[in-house]
Amino acid sequence: MSDFNDLYQELILDHNRQPRNRGSIDGAALVAEGFNPLCGDRVEVFVTVVDGVIDQIKFDGTGCAISTASASLMTESLKGKTLAEAKALFRRFRDMVVDDAEDSEDGAELGKLAVFSGVCRYPARVKCATLAWHTVSAALDRADGLVTTE
């Protein structure tokens, strides 16, 4: 079991078992769907913005533990953030899971998201961790289409 700990940390397993902010938001202005063609994972993200700040955010879809927990923790992290803060956090998160980047020029705080730091040692799983983020990024850009991780 100890072999799995750098990837499947307890916080990830918990958010996989009980995803937070799962569901849809009726009438949300910002919606996008993401698809990972490698594994068939799909995620849909719903966002409402009030005065430039993310007010409500939910996700729906099916996927592996990494993609589900990532979507769940992402919604928790983004609530209350400005759009600029949200994008900076996405960059910071992506740098961490792709390159194991320690420092951020943006200065965005990862907080709980640091639990995904082990993902960079599993290149095949990076797309699982970033799918929800790519999707929310598209939603925030009002790119209301199908997003892929390619």
Binding site: M1, D3, F4, L7, Y8, L13, N16, L38, C39, G40, D41, T62, G63, C64, A65, I66, Y122, A124, R125, C128
Partner: protein
């Protein structure tokens, strides 16, 4: 875990006594002596690509060290040697699947290319708008998409013969779909996602009654069962080298001689011509007509060595050993709580698709990898199969004659560990 392989178990000793010495066979495969993530490799992904024995690796090295030259061109010694080695591999491939003559075997770069070749030559010449191409629901994408392309090009219609929930072709529905408009039937002999063995003899007989031509995808069959294309009465039969313990980048297309002889060329270039002028070009004879350009000569030589290696073990002994191992693995997974088999056909070869309740296949795959166990997870290039069962993906453990009961035991131990983590 470390005791899983490299050490005989009582059950594996039984196989040694029965005439198939799996531990000796394993020692022929250098990669099976390696470790992954600090654990002895347990390779259960042979349906994706099979491992290569030293005999094949050495043959490729020997070819480059001693014989490397272009084929069918030079009068010099190396060119003659390389040509003989390559043509000898063609003859071995013909004998392997019971083709009447080596000229019926065309070298291509993959089983996928073999199917595309038939679609773009024979089929394109014979298909008219409104004609039908019939595939089965359990096909690999490589036996679906070439036909979809053909249909787009010609105005033909793609029809699909369904399977039942065990993953078996519904032969009655298949027969019902056959008609005067059916020009091509394209079907796999063994399903890569489910392991189902299809009744090709029945399929070809019914298709031929309606005048349809039958293209068989044999990529997953040739490594596991005795194939005789004449007995199957297949018009075309495709398989690949790398799923048959040979190098990647080589596939073979069998076609009945008269069909091949009547077909338009595939690609144009060197080797496939007899004479070229700007006014008129005449084509080479079968099979060279379909082999434009310098082929993967070393790969072909390697395939020849792989065929020699498998013949040395004996296909009957391999089939008996694998049937027993598949049965053992099936029982082991059925006895593992919260594991569901996907694909439970009465006739199967080489493949165990399964899901672990509440755990996504990719998480299972990543966790097993930490134990040195290589399985495939995903849709296995067979999304319609996944759609049939209403699932996005499965875990797939696929077997070859170098796998052992001890490795299956290790798989089950690892799966229980996965369940503990996700409980």
């Amino acid at each position: 875990m470390t005791s899983a392989i490299g050490r005989q178990t009582e059950t594996d000793r039984g196989h040694t006594a029965a005439g198939f010495d799996v531990l000796a066979v394993r020692s022929d495969f250098p990669i099976l002596q390696t470790t992954v993530n600090g654990k002895p490799l347990i390779y259960l992904d042979s349906a994706a690509t099979a491992q290569t024995p030293s005999a094949v690796i050495d043959a490729v090295v020997r070819y480059y060290n001693n014989d490397n030259a272009n084929i069918h061109r030079g009068v010099h010694t190396l060119s003659v040697r390389a040509t003989n080695m390559y043509e000898s591999a063609r003859a071995k491939a013909a004998a392997l699947i019971g083709a009447k003559r080596p000229e019926e075997m065309i070298f291509v770069r993959s089983a996928t290319e073999a199917i595309n070749l038939v679609a773009q030559t024979y089929a394109r010449d014979h298909i008219k708008p409104g004609d039908e191409v019939l595939v089965s629901e359990m096909e690999h994408h490589s036996n679906i998409v070439p036909w979809q392309l053909l249909c787009e090009q010609t105005g033909a219609v793609l029809r699909v013969a369904p399977m039942n929930d065990a993953g078996e072709l519904r032969l009655d529905e298949y027969e019902h779909l056959l008609g005067a408009r059916t020009k091509i039937v394209a079907v796999t002999q063994v399903s890569n996602a489910l392991g189902t063995i299809n009744p090709i003899c029945d399929i070809t007989r019914m298709a031929h009654e309606h005048g349809a031509c039958v293209v068989v995808d044999g990529a997953q069959a040739v490594p596991h069962i005795k194939v005789d294309v004449c007995e199957l009465d297949a018009d075309f039969y495709a398989f690949s080298s790398h799923k048959f313990f040979g190098p990647t980048g080589v596939g073979m297309l069998y076609g009945k001689f008269d069909l091949l002889n009547s077909m338009s060329p595939y690609q144009g270039g060197g080797e496939m011509i007899r004479s070229v002028t700007f006014e008129k070009t005449t084509y080479n004879d079968v099979p060279h007509k379909f082999e434009a350009g310098t082929p993967n000569i070393a790969g072909g030589v390697g395939l020849g060595a792989a065929i020699d290696y498998v013949n040395g073990l004996g296909i009957e002994a391999i089939v008996a050993y694998e049937d027993d191992l598949l049965d053992y693995a099936t029982q082991a997974l059925l006895a593992t709580p919260k594991v569901t088999l996907v694909g439970t056909a009465a006739q199967k070869a080489g493949v165990l698709s399964f899901n672990v309740d509440g755990v996504h296949p990719h998480d299972v795959g990543t966790m097993l990898d930490q134990d040195g166990i290589a399985i495939r997870t995903g849709h296995h290039c067979a999304q319609p199969v996944m759609d049939h069962f209403g699932i996005p993906a499965t875990c797939r453990a696929s077997l070859a004659f170098y796998n052992t009961r001890a490795e299956i035991d290790a798989l089950v131990v690892s799966l229980r560990k996965v369940q503990e983590v996700f409980a």
